[in-house]
């Protein structure tokens, strides 16, 4: 198993020279019940025309913030952690301008590992984590949400998608493992493979809600207030979150492989075998039916570096 703690990501950050950092800022807010809650805001201090992106320096900083919050959770200072974006934008994904600057396959792998290392912390804080999807959430942006324990979504969010396959890569920060395990095989195939190949079709917030990507949807005028109130009821146990399409063992046994085979045949018929990433994504989704999250993340590390074309 990869020990992400042992990897030094600093060199990656230096070599990619990210020009616009998305800062992870934290403010404590008091929930209606009186509990203390740490709210992270992702903001690159630019307007919505320059969406938040997630380069190595951004990711390292987010990781440090999450480490501090884990300590605070252990000390009993916070009962939960939320993460949200600047107005209209959660995050538009990895900083692709930097991806192009990668020099080696090794660095490509480190990008994947860094994502898993940092986002994985969202599931290891000692307190529940929430992503408040307040706006555009693409690729790594959506994977922040998928790595969180719970998700709310703003009904006016512009678009929700994992467009990686459209770009010739794969969702490599947890998406290919977490999404099928959250919304079931057929839905995951649609979001990860079908939609990107249909001129990069994206989801509307209501779609994300009905698929089970978001647990609850709120209107924009009081989105954050309502999200915090809802988080409070989840933390206190008043609300039990039910995931409509979360696959059980029966689905995994009965449907998983069949759905993968159908999707594979359909892909071969439509686009042939030259494009690599749809099949790489398909294999990852196929494998996501068993094993641990750590194994799923490791597979993504290997596959993402495999799609690196130098």
């Amino acid at each position: 198993m990869s020990n992400y703690d042992k990897i030094d990501f600093k060199a990656l950050a230096e070599s990619t020279n990210e020009d616009v950092i998305t800062y992870s800022r934290v403010r404590d807010v008091k929930l209606p019940s009186g509990k203390n809650f740490a709210l992270i805001t992702l903001d690159n201090d630019r307007d919505h025309n320059r969406p938040n992106t997630l380069g190595p320096a951004t990711m390292i900083q987010l990781g440090e913030v999450l480490d501090q919050l884990k300590k605070r959770a252990k000390a009993g200072e916070i009962a939960g952690v939320g993460i949200t974006g600047k107005p209209f934008i959660l995050a538009a994904g990895a900083d692709l301008s930097q991806i192009q600057n990668l020099k080696t396959k090794d660095q490509a792998k480190q990008i994947a590992q860094l994502g898993h290392y940092v986002f994985g912390k969202l599931d290891d804080l000692g307190v529940p984590s929430f992503c408040f999807i307040n706006g555009l959430a693409l690729g790594g942006g959506l994977e922040i949400a998928l790595n969180s324990n719970y998700r709310t979504i703003d009904s006016s969010a512009a678009a929700i998608a994992l467009p990686e396959v459209f770009l010739g890569i794969i969702p490599g920060w947890g998406g290919a493992y977490l999404l099928p395990n959250l919304i079931g095989i057929e839905n995951a195939l649609k979001v990860i493979i079908e939609n990107p190949l249909k001129q990069n079709r994206m989801l509307k917030p209501a779609d994300a809600l009905s698929l089970g990507i978001a647990d609850v949807m709120f209107s924009p005028a009081r989105f954050l207030e309502d999200s915090l109130k809802w988080a409070d009821t989840v933390i206190s146990g008043k609300v039990k979150v039910k995931r409509p399409n979360e696959p059980g063992s029966v689905e995994k046994l009965a449907k998983w492989d069949i759905a993968i085979n159908i999707a594979r045949k359909s892909l071969e018929g439509k686009i042939g075998k030259v494009a690599k990433s749809p099949y790489a994504a398909l294999d990852l989704i196929a494998a996501s039916k068993k094993g641990t999250k750590a194994q799923g993340f490791e597979r993504e590390d290997d596959v993402l570096s495999g799609t690196y074309r130098g």
Binding site: R25, V26, R27, V29, K30, P32, L39, I40, T41, D43, T84, P87, S219, A221, R222, F223, L224, E225, L228
Partner: protein, 396 residues
């Protein structure tokens, strides 16, 4: 066929009140968003009222420009998700804006034209400092129609001290301290929070949640108050400590006719008995509540002795103690502003009137032995406004 109707105060909410300026809660929050969020929370608290049943939305703002302009009652109604069939308009009577929104729409209910209304106000004094864009007619000064002091509220408060030498700085400071202490106690008991709706706010440190009034100073002392500067006059009496600070905030309330109360099974908190506005010399505008209260009482056939609870806006301590002295009420009378006032809580001009009403309604709940109460406030350019309310919980 319209008939005269009872006018009931159903519910009122407000945002936490923030300090105007960069250190305030709402430096990066729009004024219209403040009142819209208040309205949405108010509607959510009263789900038995169908949204299309509202006949009017009256929202007050003193500076009606930018995010407080564009006929804010109408824009706020749309942004709050009310159906487009619900009309709205903007109101301005400076500090008594929200109070006027309540009296005008309340009068409309009384006349039979409305059954359900939303009345409120907003003032973002950080985004819209007092006097922004004003252009007073030069005649005011050239013809000595008003004194130069009339346009600066702090100076009018100094003038009120001048006029009544018994209203000393010591009394004003003691009153201010008491206001802070009462508000602190009410906060600790969770009373003030009952009608306060937290607001998500953007800041340099990311998103946060405003859930407290920023002017509250539980550690206020008489000595500390005594040391503050008197910015309006050298050796004056009016300080930042014995007056309300520059504040951002919004309020919203629902009023209903007796018919609407029955139809929707609403639980009224108080009934509007009478109201009055009255003008006074602009340079002592703080005196306004006295003639307004006299006028309202006379119209209602009541006397000051019938009033068991007072919510008086504390623009300046001197203006409150002038009122109290006139009616022979002690500065620390427990019937007056039981949870403190604007000195501790803040005074976002055109929104304060509804805060007084929400608080009076809560006092009525706690005091079924009291039948009548008033909300009263002074207004820039020399006015006062008073609304008399009857406690629906009254058990005589």
């Amino acid at each position: 066929m319209s008939t005269t109707a009872d006018v009931f105060f159903i519910d009122g909410v407000r945002t936490p009140f923030g300090r105007a300026g960069e250190k305030g809660h709402y430096w990066q929050t729009r004024a219209d968003d403040l009142v819209v969020k208040s309205m949405i929370a108010l509607l959510e608290r009263n789900p038995e009222i169908p949204k299309e049943a509202f006949d009017e939305v009256a929202i007050a703002a003193t500076t009606q420009t930018g995010d407080q302009g564009l006929t804010i009652g109408r824009t706020a109604a749309i942004l709050a998700g009310l159906p487009i069939t619900v009309p709205g308009y903007a109101i301005d009577r400076m500090c008594a804006g929200a109070m006027t929104a309540v009296t005008q729409t309340g009068a409309g209910i009384g006349f039979g034209a409305y059954d359900l209304v939303i009345a409120g106000g907003v003032e973002h004094m950080g985004r819209h400092p007092m006097g922004e864009g004003v252009d007073p007619n030069p005649r005011f000064l050239s013809e000595r129609i008003v004194s130069q002091d009339a346009l600066q509220m702090g100076k009018t408060a100094e003038r009120l001290h001048d006029r009544y030498p018994s209203l000393t700085k010591e009394r004003a400071d003691a009153y201010a301290l008491h206001s802070q202490q009462k508000a602190t106690a009410a906060y600790k008991a969770g009373k003030i929070q009952q009608d306060m709706i937290p607001v998500a706010v953007k800041s340099a440190e990311g998103w946060g949640l405003a859930d407290n009034d920023q002017f509250l100073r539980p550690d206020t002392t008489l000595e500390g108050l005594g040391e503050l500067k008197t910015p309006f006059r050298v050796g004056g009496k009016v300080t930042a400590g014995n007056s309300a600070g520059l504040t951002d905030g919004a309020t919203a309330s629902i009023l209903a006719s007796g018919d609407a109360v029955k139809k929707y099974g609403l639980k009224p908190k108080m009934r509007m008995v009478q109201f009055a506005f009255s003008g006074v010399e602009p340079e002592v505008m703080g005196w306004g509540p006295v003639p307004a209260t006299d006028k309202a009482l006379a119209k209602a056939g009541l006397t000051i002795n019938d009033i068991g609870l007072f919510e008086i806006n504390e623009a300046f301590a001197v203006q409150v103690i002038a009122f109290l002295e006139h009616y022979g009420i002690a500065d620390d009378d427990s019937r007056v502003n039981p949870w403190g006032g604007a000195i501790a809580i803040g005074h976002p001009l055109a929104s304060s009137g509804v805060r007084l009403m929400s608080q009076l309604a809560r006092h009525f709940e706690e005091h079924p032995e009291v039948r009548y109460g008033i909300t009263t406030m002074c207004v820039g350019l020399g006015q006062g406004g008073t609304v008399i309310w009857e406690n629906v919980n009254y058990k005589g």
